[in-house]
Every structure is written in structure tokens, then in C-alpha cells.
């Protein structure tokens, strides 16, 4: 994942330099010195974004019922979905600055569930139940601290590339138990519902990306951004022992309002 991110930064830098090279005006006559466009100290971007699906994971839990071990498995799929992103950058020296951004991603996805439930009367005659647990939610809140490089090729265009650490907090619903409907003679059972609990874990990750804005006025414009931010979190298993991996974050493409002061 970090190799991908690094490549992504290189591509972004290449694209940016290419764009800035093309943006140089032709010089038909003798060169006349012109001052470079000023870089404003504060740059704010507010994005509605789309986060590409980042994580599918599964968990198998062994439980004891009817004097025998049973298992249930849950396949979690965190699909792509809308996110919200806001970031504020401040210039420090020349085109170098720092910034901080916040991204929130929330997605509720049905989760495939299957279980092998021991029979109450006989060994080795488990009942298989399948179903779907609705509304298994993932909420990610990430705070990105960024080192920024700002480029202002024209008065109307301002571009930023950035990278830095991200602080992720993930709340992930996991299926911790389930209910089945069964009646005598108990040779079959049907899935009734899954019971979820929420895992709440935090971890530091990494972010990298680029933002470009087009300004209609001196201070207000629109823009787009591409960024990757992510980390891998070891979450406690619902069975109470062990952990399983949650991959938080992913690629985000966003667009929205740009302000500079």
C-alpha cells in the first residue's frame, strides 16, 4: 500500500510540473520581469468526496452450544461510498506550509452470515443457517496532518500537494452473536437476526494527495482533490480472543469549495 502511495505522489508531482510548464506564457519579445503570483497564507478546501472500497474481511467464531462446538462466520464488505473532507493549510515559507484535514466516512453494508449450530439431541448433526445481517456500519474519522507544497501558476489556479501522518478512529460493527428460530425436532434452524457490537479502535496511518483549485474571485473558487489515506488496525475478535485486521481509509476523490486568504 505504501509503495502504491509513493508512486501516486510521484505521478502527482510529474503531472503538476507538466501543468505548470505548459502554463508558462509564450515570450515573443525580450523578457520582461513579472512578479510571480502571490501565495496566500491560508488555503481551505471543503469536499464532498467518494471513498473507494477499501476493506473486505471475515471472521469465524467458535462457540459452545448444546454440549458441542459450533461456528459462525461473517463476511464483512466495506463498499465504496460518500465521504466528507475538509482541510486547512497555512503557508510557512515560500510555497511550503502545513495543513490539517479531517475526513469522515460512513457506510452501512449488509453482511453475509453463516453458522453451523449443534443439534440439541445428537452429536455431529449440525444445522446450517445462512442469512444477511443488515445495517453493519463502518464509521471512519481521520485527522490528517500534512506537509504541503503550494503552486500558483496563475492568479486563478492554485495547486497543493501534501503528505503526512493520519490519525484514524474506526467504529466497526461486528456480529458478536445471533439468533435462530428452531422448533422440535430441531433438525433445521433458520437465521433470525445477527446481534452486533461496535469495535472502536484508533491507529496512526499515512496520507498523501494533491488538490487543485480554480478561483473565480480573489478568494473563492472550486476545486478537486485526490488523496490516499489509510492504515491497518488490529481489532479484537468478537469471540473475545485474538484479533482481526481492519483496513481503514482508501483512495478518495473529492470536489468542492476552495477559499484562500
Amino acid at each position: 500500500m505504501y509503495r502504491t502511495a509513493t508512486a501516486f505522489v510521484i505521478v502527482l508531482l510529474g503531472v503538476a510540473s507538466s501543468v505548470f510548464a505548459q502554463a508558462k506564457p509564450a515570450q515573443p519579445g525580450p523578457p520582461r520581469p513579472t512578479p510571480p503570483p502571490a501565495i496566500d497564507r491560508i488555503y481551505i478546501s471543503v469536499n464532498g468526496a467518494y471513498q473507494a472500497g477499501s476493506d473486505n474481511f471475515s471472521e469465524t467464531v467458535t462457540f459452545r452450544e448444546n454440549a458441542e462446538d459450533g461456528t459462525f462466520s461473517t463476511d464483512y464488505e466495506v463498499k465504496s461510498g460518500p465521504a466528507f473532507n475538509i482541510s486547512v493549510g497555512a503557508g510557512l515559507w515560500r510555497n511550503i506550509g502545513v495543513g490539517v484535514g479531517v475526513t469522515r466516512f460512513s457506510k452501512s453494508t449488509p453482511t453475509a452470515f453463516s453458522a453451523s449450530v449443534p443439534h440439541p439431541f445428537f452429536f455431529n448433526r449440525p444445522r446450517t443457517v445462512d442469512g444477511e445481517v443488515a445495517g453493519v456500519a463502518r464509521e471512519e474519522l481521520a485527522v490528517h496532518v500534512q506537509a504541503r507544497a503550494t503552486f500558483v501558476p496563475t492568479e486563478r489556479i492554485q495547486a497543493v500537494i501534501f503528505a503526512g501522518p493520519s490519525f484514524f478512529n474506526v467504529q466497526q460493527d461486528i456480529v458478536s452473536d445471533f439468533e435462530v428460530t428452531e422448533t422440535y425436532p430441531y433438525d433445521a434452524a433458520t437465521f433470525n437476526r445477527g446481534i452486533t457490537t461496535s469495535v472502536d479502535e484508533s491507529k496512526v496511518g499515512f496520507n498523501v494527495g494533491a488538490d487543485i483549485g480554480y478561483f473565480f474571485t480573489r478568494q473563492i473558487g472550486v476545486g478537486g482533490s485526490l488523496q490516499w489515506a489509510g492504515t491497518t488496525i488490529d481489532a479484537p475478535a468478537s469471540a473475545g480472543t485474538g484479533t482481526f485486521e481492519i483496513k481503514a481509509g482508501g483512495f478518495q476523490a473529492g470536489a468542492g469549495l476552495r477559499l484562500r486568504f
Partner: protein, 553 residues
């Protein structure tokens, strides 16, 4: 002990200091546990005041028979006229003086008691959550529902029934969202394991009781209970034949739910399996098809002294198992399994030792089938009808074995020998069991009508002449030639044994009169085969040939 500030309850501005003990409780709930004078003085004032303004309403008043002077009031807590689910206060008093007050009530909260959803909208929300086919058991009620976090919520309380269960469902009275759901089917069951005579570890359906487990099956529809008579033969006789009462303390019990008493394990388990067989194979609900309870008695006589029991009781309570529909307390009916006698002793006539009769699945099923017969054809237990009665029990006993056990000749395996797991020669050589359907004559029983027993003993040979219909059933299933007639039968095959089980079950429980003869049984089974599998075909042919082969026409 912890000193806590008690709450203002349900909107009443009532503050007090209260010693409520150190017990854990949800943060949103207040536990009232007042038993000392100081505690009672404060809480009794509070309760009385709340009753006066109507926030506590008496829902029940009980007199304790063991303490006639006491008066126990159960009161429901309301807030703005809406009951708070589960929030009750119980006050025990004597001559108007409170002696204890207990309760679990919410801490202070403030909330509008007017729901956004009306009853019809809430009902639609409940039905959507409950799924197709669900129905309300009774009218929904508006409640405040104490939640683990966030204080009480205004909710509609619904009891919903589906085809498989009944559950209580609370939905938010403002949004219709589900808040809480739990089953209203109040079973208290447990599954234990037991090591019986043969067949490895078995699961036992039992009931937890006071830290132990008792042999009381709560998972099957009828009440199946197994009582441990603990070797008290006199009491066993009194219970079985004199109707002496059984007490909860007589229930077979185990402390860790890993049962090791063979008669308890096998008796309790095999009774359940036999019920299962009849339900699954024939759609029958127990002995009387109405889930009649089955009381099982085991350990009536200890095995190590079984040979010392009087002759009169030896044949009944030591080397025997029986079903008696009129026996037991109040004529409830009793299933009894004898324990046999010490393993180092044998009957000189057969060289066999008799062990735990409960250890043979076919014995348990045989005996319970007598109960089935009793409530159906009620074949008279004498002469040919009596032999048919015995044969039907053997047939169903064998069928149950084949339903649950692997086919084979070893212990714990399905075969056409009766009681072979319990009645064995110590060496394992020679005759095992007590009757054979394959070769009845091996045990001295006739396998052809021409050599039937015609004496008066054994009720006219009910256990002897059963060999003839037993052989007919065996030939109809497996096929082969009768030893006497030499006539060959094309059986339906073991793989199709179910067909012949259904034929005999239909004939013996539905079609045959109480005084049936072998000839009647022949006609009834042929008719049953026609009813079930067509007027011609392998099933009708097999059963017809089988009866003909054993000389019954």
C-alpha cells in the same frame, strides 16, 4: 456498603440519602433494597406518597400462606400516566408496618409522554420488523422502556407471534425503530452429555435446577422425566403399583451435566429418541398422539444385588422392562427399566447375563410401543392378539434401532435381534439378546404358524408366538426363505425398510381391531400396503409373500 445519593424517581422531586448496598446495577437504574428501620422509614414515605399521586399503582396484593399476617403489595411505576416497563416496587408489611421494600426503578428523567406515532402507525412498524406471517398477540401498550444507556425511551410494547415463536418487541414511539426484542417462550433447558451402556457419548436434554441438572426433558413436546429410585425396590413397587407419589427430589440428578449413571443416561435418552422416531417417521406425537407425559423409573433395584431380589419381584423389576399405562402416581403411566444382575452371574439355561435393560434402544422403543398400541388398536394381551401386540413392539423397537444406529451385528448396532445390547453371554459367544426376527427358533420361538404355541402359559404365548409376525416383518423387509415352509419372499430391501415400517404402523395402529388374529394382521397389513404404495407392486407383494411364507393366510 456504599452511601449513594438516591434519585428523584419518575419526575417526583424526592431526594434522600439511602444506603443501597454495594451490588452492581445499571447506572440508569436505582435499586431499592430497604430492610432496616432507617431505610424503611424513608422509602415507605416515598412509596406512600407515590401511591397517593398515582405514580405508583398497586397491581397485585398477595398473602403469604406461610406468613398469614403479612401483606405483599406489588406496585407498578408510572411516569405521566405511562407505565415504565419492568419498574416495580414490592412492599411487604405487617399490620400496616413495612418490613421490606424492594424495587428496580429508573433514575430521574424528563420526557414527553406523547408519541409521534399513533397506534396504527406503530403497529405497521412492528409488523414490518416482525416479518411476514406475524400477528399481534394482544393490543400494543405505550411504555417507557429503560435502556442500558441514555435513559428511558418512549416505546410501544408489542407481543408478536409467528408460526415458530412468540416474542416481545419494543419500537420507538416516535420513530418506529426497534429498541428491544426478546423471546416470550420461556423454556429452561440444558443439554448435557452422558455415557451409556453402548454407543459412546450421548446428548441428554435436561433441566438446570439449583446448580445441578435433573433428567427433565424440556426440549421435546411432551414432559419426559426420569426418576432415580436409588435402589429402593420397596418404594419403586409402591410408586409403580400403589400410586405412591414422586417428588422433585426423586428426579435423576447430576451436578456437572456430564452424566455417568447408565440407566439414567440410556433410559432418559432412548425415551426421547423413541418419541423422535414416532414423530419423524409417522408424524405421531407420543404414546397417545397427544404428547402424553412419560414418567420413567430407573434403578429400582441395584444391579449388584439384583440376584438377591425375591422371585416374585425378580422377573418384574430385575430382568425386565415394562410400560404400564395405568401405573404410577394418579395412573400417570410408568416406564420402568430393570438393571439386571451382577456381570459375573449368568442364567444357567442360556449362559446369558442380564445387564441394564435401559441400555438397549430396542427395549425402550419396544416398551413405549406398548403404550402406542394401548391408545390405538389396544390389542388384547392374550392369545394371537397378544402375540401381535408383542410383535408390533418388537417391530417398532427394531425400526427405532435402524433409525438411529448403524446397521451391524455388534453392540450398539442395528439388527433384528431384541435386547442384544443388554442380554449377552460374558464371552460374547452364543446367543445374544432375547428374541430373533431373523431366526425365531434360535430362541425357541416359532417361525411358522404350523408350529405355533397353543398352551396357556405366557398369556397364550404372547412372547412366543410373536416370532411368527416378527419373521413375517423381517422377510417382508430383507427377503429370503422361511425355515419351515421354504417359501421365498422378495423383500423391499433394507434401504426401503421405511415402507414396511409404515405399512405395519398403519395396520397395527389404525386398521386392526383389539381382538385381531394373525389372519386379520395379514389382511390389514396387505390393505395398508395397498393404501400407501398402490394395489400392486413390490410392497404389497413383499408383505403378502411374507405372511404366506410364515403360514398365515
Amino acid at each position: 456498603m456504599t452511601r449513594l445519593t438516591a434519585a428523584v424517581l419518575a419526575g417526583a422531586a424526592f431526594f434522600m440519602w439511602m444506603d443501597v448496598g454495594s451490588a452492581q446495577q445499571p447506572s440508569s437504574m436505582l435499586r431499592i433494597s430497604a430492610t432496616t428501620v432507617n431505610e424503611l422509614r424513608s422509602w415507605d414515605q416515598y412509596v406512600t406518597a407515590q401511591v397517593r399521586i398515582g405514580d405508583l399503582r398497586v397491581v397485585d396484593v398477595e398473602q403469604d400462606p406461610s406468613l398469614p399476617s403479612r401483606r405483599v403489595e406489588r406496585m407498578q411505576l408510572y411516569y405521566q400516566g405511562v407505565p415504565i416497563f419492568g419498574a416495580q416496587v414490592v412492599r411487604d408489611s405487617e399490620s400496616g408496618v413495612a418490613l421490606s421494600i424492594f424495587g428496580e426503578v429508573p433514575q430521574i428523567f424528563s420526557m414527553d409522554a406523547t408519541p409521534d406515532l399513533d397506534l396504527a402507525a406503530a403497529e405497521r412498524a412492528v409488523m414490518a420488523l416482525a416479518g411476514p406471517g406475524a400477528r399481534l398477540v394482544r393490543r400494543m401498550e405505550l411504555n417507557f422502556l429503560p435502556m442500558a444507556e441514555g435513559g428511558p425511551r418512549l416505546a410501544y410494547n408489542a407481543v408478536v407471534a409467528t408460526s415458530t415463536t412468540v416474542f416481545r418487541l419494543f419500537v420507538d414511539a416516535n420513530t418506529g425503530a426497534e429498541l428491544l426484542r426478546f423471546s416470550e417462550v420461556q423454556t429452561q433447558s440444558a443439554v448435557g452429555t452422558g455415557q451409556g451402556l453402548v454407543g459412546g457419548l450421548k446428548k441428554m436434554s435436561v433441566r438446570p435446577q439449583a446448580g445441578s441438572f435433573v433428567a427433565d426433558d424440556r426440549l421435546r413436546p411432551p414432559q419426559l422425566t426420569t426418576y432415580d429410585m436409588r435402589g429402593d425396590l420397596n418404594r419403586t413397587v409402591d410408586v409403580a403399583f400403589e400410586g405412591a407419589p414422586l417428588f422433585p427430589a426423586d428426579l435423576a440428578i447430576d451436578s456437572d451435566n456430564q452424566w455417568t449413571d447408565i440407566p439414567v443416561v440410556d433410559g432418559h435418552t432412548y425415551i426421547g429418541w423413541t418419541y423422535d422416531y414416532y414423530f419423524k417417521r409417522h408424524g405421531r406425537r407420543g404414546l397417545d398422539n397427544r404428547d402424553r407425559p412419560i414418567v420413567t423409573l430407573v434403578n429400582g433395584a441395584r444391579r449388584d444385588v439384583g440376584h438377591l431380589v425375591s422371585d416374585e419381584l425378580f422377573g418384574l423389576f430385575v430382568v425386565n422392562a415394562f410400560w404400564c399405562g395405568e401405573c404410577g402416581p394418579g395412573g400417570v403411566g410408568v416406564m420402568y427399566f430393570g438393571n439386571g444382575f451382577p456381570a459375573n452371574l449368568v442364567f444357567s439355561s442360556t449362559g446369558q447375563n442380564w445387564g441394564y435393560l435401559a441400555g438397549s434402544l430396542d427395549v425402550a422403543a419396544h416398551e413405549l410401543t406398548h403404550g402406542v398400541t394401548e391408545s390405538t388398536s389396544n390389542l388384547i394381551y392374550q392369545g394371537e392378539s397378544g402375540a401381535l401386540n408383542e410383535a408390533f413392539s418388537d417391530i417398532m423397537g427394531t425400526a427405532v434401532e435402524f433409525y438411529f444406529q448403524q446397521v451391524g451385528a455388534g453392540v450398539g448396532q442395528a439388527d433384528f435381534i431384541l435386547a442384544e445390547d443388554s442380554v449377552r453371554t460374558p464371552s460374547g459367544v452364543g446367543l445374544q439378546g432375547i428374541r430373533s426376527m431373523v431366526n425365531p427358533i434360535a430362541f425357541g420361538d416359532p417361525d411358522h404358524y404350523s408350529i405355533r404355541f397353543t398352551g396357556a402359559s405366557d398369556n397364550g404365548g404372547v412372547h412366543i408366538n410373536s416370532g411368527i409376525p416378527n419373521q413375517a416383518f423381517y422377510l417382508a423387509v430383507v427377503g429370503g426363505a422361511n425355515r419351515v415352509s421354504g417359501q421365498t419372499v422378495t423383500g423391499v430391501g433394507l434401504a426401503n425398510m421405511e415402507q414396511m415400517e409404515k405399512v405395519f404402523y398403519r395396520a397395527f395402529t389404525l386398521l386392526m381391531p383389539a381382538n385381531s388374529t394373525f389372519a386379520t394382521a395379514r389382511a390389514a397389513t396387505i390393505q395398508a400396503a395397498r393404501d400407501l404404495y398402490g394395489v400392486t407392486g413390490p410392497v404389497v407383494n413383499a408383505v403378502t409373500q411374507a405372511w404366506t411364507a410364515v403360514g398365515v393366510n
